[in-house]
């Protein structure tokens, strides 16, 4: 459900964006930050708040890589699947990550900690291979480096 705090934040963004509809990406990101993902019910509420039809907002929401229409884990592991990382060992790294987490691309670990997602070029091609966990970037990766990073998140839990 949209809280008053969310609505206030969305209203501020809308005022800077030009029109109510133009603030819809910001609105979705604000809500997703809190709720983790965008359910059908919430989508309808956001659409109403922005004077958009749900269908119109769904057209936007389904378009972007960082808008989740299904629940995701506590942390999103986004592995760069683009060309420079592919050349530098993406497939091997992905295999290792899938084995370590016991999931395939697009799945969430049973404990709800991690969702593994593909991501397009992260723009750090000179430091490939790379991935992001939530908003943190990790580069020059190999299997060992990934295991250490994973440890950090597991301890943080």
């Amino acid at each position: 459900m949209l809280t008053d705090a969310m609505k206030k934040q969305i209203q501020e963004e809308v005022e800077r964006s030009g029109t109510r509809k133009a603030g819809c990406i910001e609105a979705i990101q604000i809500v997703q930050q809190d709720l983790g993902w965008i359910s059908d019910e919430v989508l309808v509420e956001i659409a109403e708040f922005l004077d958009m039809t749900p269908a119109e907002l769904e057209g936007v929401a389904s378009f972007y890589n960082h808008i989740y229409r299904k629940p995701v884990g506590k942390h999103r592991i986004m592995i760069c699947a683009s060309v420079s990382c592919w050349i530098m060992g993406y497939e091997k790294l992905l295999d290792h990550i899938c084995r370590r987490l016991g999931i395939q691309m697009g799945q969430t670990t049973a404990d709800g900690m991690f969702t593994l997602l593909p991501i397009q070029c992260l723009g750090v091609c000179e430091q490939a291979p790379a991935l992001m966990i939530d908003e943190e970037l990790y580069t020059h990766l190999d299997e060992n480096a990934f295991d250490k990073i994973l440890e950090k998140y597991r301890e943080g839990a």
């Binding site: 800077r16 057209g59 378009f63 683009s82 991501i119 070029c121 723009g123 750090v124 091609c125 000179e126």
Partner: protein, 423 residues
């Protein structure tokens, strides 16, 4: 060798604060631009032969000049910075935004004020979280110091810059799709006629530029067109942020004179290939450019030279293919990307790219058939320029078409041996 864009970068990559930027001469160009006025400022950009660094190489002065004068079309008008850097293999705008955010902001303020735009958008990709935080800080500093807001430097002109963090889609880097995205619609492209400078955001005149292009503007205003041309080794003015990724000894980025040879970038700066590897080919300017080969190493990296050789300089960031990496696998990775990022608006792109990607996957996994070669050629032809609203599909078949030409035997071996010979 002068490196105006990166000269003030700090050794460990922290951004310049407003004070440091001002100490290095920052925001003087804004004062000068306001003094000399629109015609003189645009004249300087045209004389400097600044061409758009987003990939298309359109002359910046010409684009700015095409904004209708305010008296001919009074009302709102918009200035947009395309910082949605998502071309695979490309990372030049990231380093500019992270290293010197005020340089970009000054370019945006100059562009907005002299073209009578009171509202500007900085369209940033989601993944650039470090650049996002640094730009937020820099925007707040600029606002505090009076470079943004009302009556900037006593000029009577106003400007607000809105940082829009996108939610991640390659398509948004296309100008008309970016406009749809900012309006809150699904970001599909639309007709380029009328031009966005006539009818862009909400149907109003809109000027859109790439990050690296705008970073050059303050320097040109400060030091003049002749100085800018003198930086270059080619007919286009200025320096260029070149980058190299792939299995070279020292992947990275360098600000070098426009028109530096590919050989110098690849061997002197990137250190050449790693031990035991040979250069097989390279994409000169991001994922959507045609492969070039060893025989092209002495070409100058500028828009016209690379175009003459049958490719494009694009973003100027090269992706290197070595002899131990499968060219079919590489092209499959590229086409998978383009198929995934196609917005689905135009039929050839929506239907064609997934087909191409699936054929290449089959080849990689030993299921390629001889007739697949013809099907791939068919797509190169029918996804070319003029069949779709935007350049995504033509860009997607540039590496495919050139790979079929240069690495044909490698494709055929996948089919005849029913496997990938590199695996």
């Amino acid at each position: 060798m002068e490196q105006p864009l990166t000269a003030n970068f700090k050794p460990h990559g922290e951004p310049l604060s407003l004070k440091e930027y001002e100490k290095a001469g920052g925001y003087q160009a804004l004062r000068k631009a306001l003094k000399i006025g629109r015609d003189a400022a645009i004249g300087e950009l045209s004389d400097a032969r600044l061409r758009g660094r987003g990939g298309a190489g359109f002359p910046t002065g010409t684009k700015w000049k095409s904004m209708p004068p305010l008296q001919d079309d009074p009302g709102s008008r918009y200035f947009v910075t395309d910082a949605d850097e998502m071309e695979p293999g490309t990372f030049k705008d990231r380093v500019l935004m992270e290293g010197d955010p005020h340089q970009l902001i000054e370019g945006m303020v100059i562009g907005s004020l002299i073209n009578a735009c009171e509202s500007a958008f900085l369209f940033l990709r989601w993944e650039y979280t470090r650049a996002r935080d640094r730009l937020k800080t820099a925007l707040a500093e600029a606002q505090q110091a009076g470079y943004l807001g009302k009556n900037i430097l006593g000029s009577g002109l106003n400007l607000e810059i809105h940082l829009h963090v996108s939610a991640g889609r390659y398509m948004c880097g296309e100008g008309t799709a970016l406009t749809s995205a900012l309006e809150g619609s699904r970001a599909v492209p639309h007709s380029k006629v009328p031009r966005q400078t006539q009818s862009g955001l909400w149907g109003r005149p809109t000027l859109m530029n790439n990050v690296e292009t705008l970073c050059n503007v303050p320097h040109i205003i400060n030091k003049g067109a002749d100085w800018f041309k003198s930086l270059s080794l080619s007919s286009d003015g200025g320096t260029k942020i070149y980058g190299v990724s792939g299995k070279v000894k020292k992947p990275g980025f360098w600000e070098l004179p426009m028109g530096t040879t590919i050989r110098e970038i690849l061997y002197e700066h990137a250190g050449g290939m790693r031990e035991g590897l040979k250069l097989k080919g390279f994409l000169p300017g991001g994922a959507s450019t045609d492969f070039l080969l060893e025989e092209h190493l002495d070409l100058k990296m500028d828009f016209d030279s690379i175009q003459k050789a049958g490719s494009r300089m694009g973003t100027g960031t090269m992706i290197v293919l070595d002899d131990k990496t499968c060219p079919v696998g590489m092209v499959h990775n590229l086409e998978h990307f383009f198929a995934h990022e196609s917005c689905g608006w135009c039929t050839p792109c929506r239907e064609g790219l997934p087909w191409v990607a699936s054929i290449l996957k089959d080849m990689e996994e030993g299921r390629g058939r001889p007739e697949d070669m013809e099907t791939l050629e068919f797509h190169v032809k029918h996804l070319g320029p003029g069949r779709t609203f935007c350049a995504l599909a033509p860009g997607a078949v540039e590496p495919l078409g050139s790979a079929l030409k240069f690495f044909r035997e490698d494709f055929e071996r996948h089919i005849s041996e029913h496997r990938c010979p590199w695996r």
